[in-house]
């Protein structure tokens, strides 16, 4: 067999970029396959972006269309901004996976299927009248029909595992095959498996065997004449790791705790797609991280408020429905003027909406979804790795400005992965925190919990500090003393002071920079959050076409950077693409009185490069006609 392989003349083709979609039943292990392929890809130095796409049900009935789980990866030897609009390669483990994904495979693209996933039952569940592998409907694609289940069982013939257990490793066959196809070293995967199944020797052996079987299958099967290679991308020099959004957010919180010298408290109630933050933070007990799975979102934020009062770096995390529940307590935090970070990992709404799909439709909710005048700073992460900096910055603002802060992320950022040139600990700024100092009660001067400094920030006085005993609460409080006050003028003053405090943060954040493109011109693409990649790639395409366009991406949504108005006015037109019905656009129109053009998509998936490009071109064309 080895000799055979050597004799076979396989050619290696270099590709600049590839998009692969792994799709199968929820139980087929496509998420793990995708994640391992991603880590392996990252190690080659290619740039990449991923997009896992899960069903809302844990195990929808096997073989059905709603049960399909997918993982998309786009990698290349150039800068990669999006997970890709169309697939070069589709791996379909069953008929349902083919049916739901085929429309996005490029013309002439490769379709790899597990033939056992196309039996009568699977075809019926996928609502195919005829077998697409046989009826010619895949003409025009490069089809590899592989009996993956059978080959997996054969590879494990000499093991004592039952058929069910054997079949569970068939995703490793797929992975092995793709690793061969892209000229990869299987070591990183082997190492992962060894760690994962360290105590389950039989299962480890089975997985390794099937992984190699898949690899050798590619090597030795005559029909596969070509392997592919994607070279490293010209990323800046440095040390990298692969990172997912929730993971980066967690590291940002840990780093902020470290740099502020405060213990980290995280109160949460499980909800997709925020749960992984709770899962990951709870592994850091050895760092003293106190995670608390509360009885509901209200208790989670209230516990965080209690922890903040006690002097911790307090964080709570959830998704849109959880924010709805936390709103009253967010108002309390505004009133108490205690530091608190509220993470909202957005998903499709309203109500339960699309739990596993992405959307950016909570912006107005976090800006205004509270009773009374209740201003809160709002920040947004723009990519998986950026969630690190955004989380760190949210903590900094909360701690230094004594305010609750909302950090927005979304399902796409949370579960997407990309290479990250992570910082060194000593490159990160310190976050100095000052607690009010104890004083002798005899010295006469009462402690003033609501006296403010030049930033309008009140002191953080921890219970247990002698001489500073004071009461805070949700009732309006008198300026300086913090005593309960119903005085009309005092309320008017306090409302303004709380607002002013948040507005002054604008003086402590950087001016808005242009991400790419011209400093002034025809069109500005302005975005926030997870649309970063697609805005950047569209901007670059338009620049290459000779248009004078720029891309600006906001991290700070409240307060907005002080130069934003001036910056927007340098372009003839401002286009704001969002995964909602125009929420940032509304804020900008109201604040800057500019005729913002919106591009909106609410399909639970990221905006595609081509749709936005077409829209932006149309805008440019209209302008050309007008002038």
């Amino acid at each position: 067999m080895v000799l055979n392989a050597l004799l076979m003349n396989k050619v290696k083709e270099i590709q600049e970029e590839v998009t692969i979609k792994f799709a199968g039943d929820s139980g087929d292990g496509m998420q793990l396959t995708g994640a391992l392929f991603t880590d392996n890809t990252a190690l080659t130095g290619s740039d990449l972006a991923t997009f896992p796409d899960f069903p809302a049900e844990i195990r929808a009935p096997a073989g059905t269309l709603p049960g399909v789980s997918g993982f998309q990866i786009h990698f290349g030897s150039k800068k990669i901004f999006t997970p890709g609009d169309e697939y070069d390669v589709l791996v379909a483990m069953n008929a349902a996976a083919l049916k739901t994904n085929l429309s996005r495979v490029k013309k002439g693209g490769t379709v790899i299927v597990n033939t056992e996933g196309f039996d009568v039952k699977n075809l019926r569940l996928a609502k195919y009248a005829a077998n697409p592998l046989e009826d010619g409907s895949l003409q025009g694609y490069e089809l590899y029909a592989i009996p993956i289940t059978k080959l997996t069982r054969e590879a494990l013939a000499d093991t004592s595992l039952g058929t069910k257990e054997k079949d569970r490793s068939k995703n490793m066959f797929v992975l092995g095959f793709l690793l061969w196809r892209y000229n990869r070293d299987v070591k990183s995967v082997e190492r992962f498996l060894e760690a994962k199944f360290a105590t389950k020797y039989e299962i480890l052996r089975a997985n390794l065997k099937v992984l190699r079987a898949g690899y050798h299958f590619g090597e030795t099967t005559e029909t596969f004449t070509t392997t592919y290679e994607v070279k490293p991308a010209p990323l800046p020099k440095g040390t990298y790791r692969s990172i997912m959004g929730n993971q980066a957010l967690v590291l940002g919180l840990l780093a902020a705790a470290n740099k502020s010298g405060l213990p980290l408290f995280y109160g949460s109630y499980p909800i997709t797609p925020a749960s992984d933050i709770l899962h990951q933070l709870s592994t850091y007990r050895h760092l003293g991280v106190k995670t608390f799975q509360a009885e509901d979102e209200i208790a989670a934020i209230c516990a965080a408020i209690g922890a903040s009062y006690g002097g911790a770096l307090a964080v709570t995390g959830t998704s849109g429905p959880g924010i709805a529940l936390k709103s009253e307590a967010m108002g309390l935090a505004v009133m108490l003027e205690l530091p608190l970070v509220v993470c909202d990992i957005q998903r499709g709404g309203p109500s339960t909406g699309l739990p596993t799909k992405t959307e950016q439709a909570d912006l107005l909710q976090v800006m205004y979804g509270r009773n009374g005048e209740s201003p809160m700073p709002v920040l947004a992460a723009r990519s998986p790795s950026d969630a690190f900096e955004a989380a760190f910055e949210a903590c900094r603002i909360a701690l230094q400005h004594m305010t609750p802060v909302v950090l927005l992320s979304d399902g796409y950022i949370a579960n997407g992965a990309e290479p990250w040139r992570f910082p060194k600990a000593d490159e990160l700024p310190e976050i100095p925190v000052h607690f009010a100092q104890a004083k002798a009660s005899e010295n006469g001067q009462p402690f003033l919990p609501y006296a403010r400094d030049e930033r309008q920030v009140r002191p953080w006085a921890l219970p247990g500090t002698s001489g500073l005993a004071h009461r805070i609460g949700g009732l309006e409080k008198a300026h300086l003393t913090g005593d309960v006050s119903y005085d009309p003028d005092n309320h008017n003053l306090m409302v303004r002071l709380r607002e002013e405090k948040v507005q002054r943060i604008a003086q402590f954040i950087p001016e808005q920079q242009i991400t790419s493109g011209v400093e002034q011109g025809e069109l500005l693409l302005l975005g926030w959050g997870s649309t970063f990649g697609v805005l950047e790639s569209v901007t670059r395409t338009l620049l290459a076409e000779g248009h004078r366009v720029g891309h600006v991406h906001l991290r700070y949504l409240n307060p907005m950077p002080r130069n934003l108005g001036e910056l927007m006015r340098r372009y003839d037109k401002v286009l704001v693409p969002e995964l909602n019905r125009g929420q940032l656009a509304q804020l900008l129109r109201a604040k800057y009185l500019l005729p913002i053009v919106s591009f909106n998509s609410v399909r639970g998936v990221p905006i595609s490069h081509n749709e936005l490009l077409a829209f932006a071109r149309e805008q440019l064309r209209q302008d050309a006609q007008v002038s």
Binding site: T239, Y240, L251, G267, A294, Y309
Partner: protein
């Protein structure tokens, strides 16, 4: 771990400079006073005490205490206090809640705080009415109660807070009355000594919206037949001349007449705070003397149940120590790098 202090405190050292604004005759005054004097007698340092409350007349309590305090939002005080306990276990935390605050909107937090056994005292001011919102029926109001929001009588079956707390596996459950300051003080003292969540249900008169709700338990002519004061290790005796006792016949409590039925104290149920099964039966002594015509079971006051169980915050701290011993403490650089890195030259 309140720092022992040599300063002798008086109850008034725990009173803030704020004018107390409860209605004249409100039972809350008595509870405030007894709490302050228990704190003083326990030698607490006001700077080490935090009083956390929800919303309601009762929840104004922290403003009147010269300690640290948070007047939170409706029903959420136990959750706020839980967060504080987890990060500052050395502080002495007291939660103040009402029957609406703690059992209606905050019922969820109430049961979860108790089962987790955070080391804090929860004083439930039960006036069987929504005081602050001016007199709607509450979850402890008797059924068919006529109030502003129930002119035809409320249809809600009342919650029995003691039974609910036991159902939530509370480690300390007591009941007392605003009108019996001595007993109340003793219950607050016991609650303070308890390590874990200590619930004290306090019958509190609201003279404005629900006057005399507890009259059968507080008025001279009726209290002796309706009140059963519990003492650990002592028989269950009550009555005007201490002439009635309770026997446990199987699982059934039976009122006996010590003078007529020929029973002596030795034949009676002996109170054992540590016995969960007996506590559950005691919790079910819940006859409404307003509506009970046959001889009804008296209402127990005192420590109904008290056992030790590890507190959540202590378990958390122990788990941190254990995790540290096993995994050590990685540096921030190690955390940031993770296990799989590559370098681009």
């Amino acid at each position: 771990m309140t720092t022992p202090t040599t300063t002798v405190r008086k109850a008034k050292d725990f009173a803030s400079d704020q004018e107390v604004r409860w209605c004249p005759g409100c039972g809350d005054y008595s509870i405030l006073k007894q709490t302050q004097s228990v704190m003083a007698e326990a030698g607490l340092d006001p700077d080490q005490v935090v009083v956390v409350s929800g919303i309601g007349c009762s929840s104004r309590f922290p403003y009147y205490m010269n300690t640290y305090g948070i007047h939170g939002i409706h029903g959420r005080a136990p959750a706020i206090a839980a967060g504080l306990r987890m990060v500052r276990p050395e502080l002495d935390v007291w939660v103040i809640t009402g029957d609406g605050d703690g059992l209606s909107i905050g019922g969820n937090h109430f049961i979860h705080a108790l089962r987790r056994n955070f080391n804090m005292r929860i004083l439930l001011f039960n006036n069987q009415i929504y005081g602050l919102t001016k007199g709607q029926y509450s979850p402890t109001s008797e059924v068919f109660k006529k109030t502003k929001s129930s002119p035809w009588g409320s249809l809600d079956h009342p919650i029995n807070p003691v039974a609910l707390a036991l159902g939530a596996d509370a480690t300390f459950v007591a009941r007392s009355l605003d009108r019996d300051p001595k007993h109340l003080k003793e219950m607050l003292r016991r609650a303070h000594e308890h390590k874990g969540s200590a619930l004290v249900e306090i019958y509190q008169n609201c003279p404005i919206f629900n006057d005399k709700a507890f009259a059968p338990f507080t008025e001279k002519d009726s209290k002796e037949v309706n009140d059963l004061f519990l003492t650990h290790g002592q028989p269950l005796i009550f009555g005007a001349n201490r002439d009635k006792g309770i026997r446990l016949e199987g699982c059934k409590p039976v009122v006996v007449d010590l003078e007529k039925d020929g029973y002596s104290a030795d034949d009676l149920w002996i109170h054992d705070e540590r016995d969960l099964f007996k506590a559950q039966i005691l919790a079910r002594f819940f006859d409404d003397p307003h509506q009970c015509d046959s001889p009804c079971l008296p209402r127990p006051f005192g420590v109904i149940y008290a056992v030790e169980r590890p507190c959540y915050e202590d378990l958390l701290e122990a788990q941190i120590q254990q995790a540290r011993a096993i995994k050590g403490e990685p540096t921030l650089d190690q955390l940031l790098a993770g296990n799989n890195t590559w370098t681009i030259e």
